[in-house]
Symmetry: C2
Subunit: 156 residues, 2 copies
């Protein structure tokens, strides 16, 4: 991707996109919670063609049409998300904190060996969500911490 | 402005901005209507600092805080708007039609010598508004045309 394309997509993401790190309960994983990472870009469906162009520049993601006349380009997967954010990072301005926390979280997640290290990633998810003004999250670092305490995984 | 800055601002405008050409009744101008041109970028007020950064890159515009928690960077004036759009144009994707109609309108407006030429600019204002999905406009090319006919300025 050339640098003006990266800068353009960074501007678009700053203007009308979101970066999410979510905590989802899953019984089949080590700590009982899965972390998912997502980048989303939105636009009126009449311009969906241009979302496909962005998708092709990034060489990853899915464009889908929602019921409310909007389309979205969604990228997920820790490696894909980290890779795209690394490319956009030099040009991101409004969401710079979110991008840095996200990259920090994804690196920590890879290395997380203890409940405490996993909780550290959840705390970064909280910071990202706060910066996104998302208030109705079911699973936060403190709900994960409570569950870890109940299970005796954390020292008192 | 370097090219990655132009590309970034183009992406931001595509994602969360608008380009407007408006028709306003004024008794003190030749055809009874004034045409105003505006570029607006929006963002949550907590990030107003970055709107100031964009303003400084463009070296024009005003940042103001609205009552609904949003801030906006507003540029107006035909020459300023044309100048900024010329710089962003190579990178604009989603709003490419609006940018081309706007530049065409501003060039025509400069040269408009007859009511018919003025109406041609109003028709471009209609196309831009349609592309913006703005439906509640008071003054459109057809309302201007009606008034010009009432005044006998157009051949029947």
């Amino acid at each position: 991707m050339d640098e003006t394309t990266s800068a353009y997509i960074a501007g678009f993401l700053d203007g009308d996109g979101s970066i999410m790190l979510q905590i989802k309960p899953r019984s089949d994983v080590r700590y009982g919670f899965r972390i998912t990472s997502t980048i989303c870009l939105y636009q009126d469906s009449s311009h969906a063609g241009e979302l496909h162009w962005i998708r092709n520049q990034l060489d990853t993601g899915y464009v889908s049409q929602r019921n409310d006349g909007m389309s979205e380009l969604r990228l997920d997967g820790h490696e894909r998300v980290a890779n795209v954010l690394q490319q956009l990072k030099p040009y991101i301005r409004f969401k710079r904190d979110q991008v840095e926390w996200m990259l920090e979280a994804l690196a920590k997640l890879d290395a997380a060996q203890t409940p405490n290290e996993f909780l550290g990633v959840c705390l970064l998810a909280d910071k990202i969500a706060e910066a996104n003004y998302t208030s109705r999250r079911k699973n936060t670092a403190s709900s994960v911490e409570k569950e870890f305490r109940d299970k005796g995984w954390l020292s008192p």
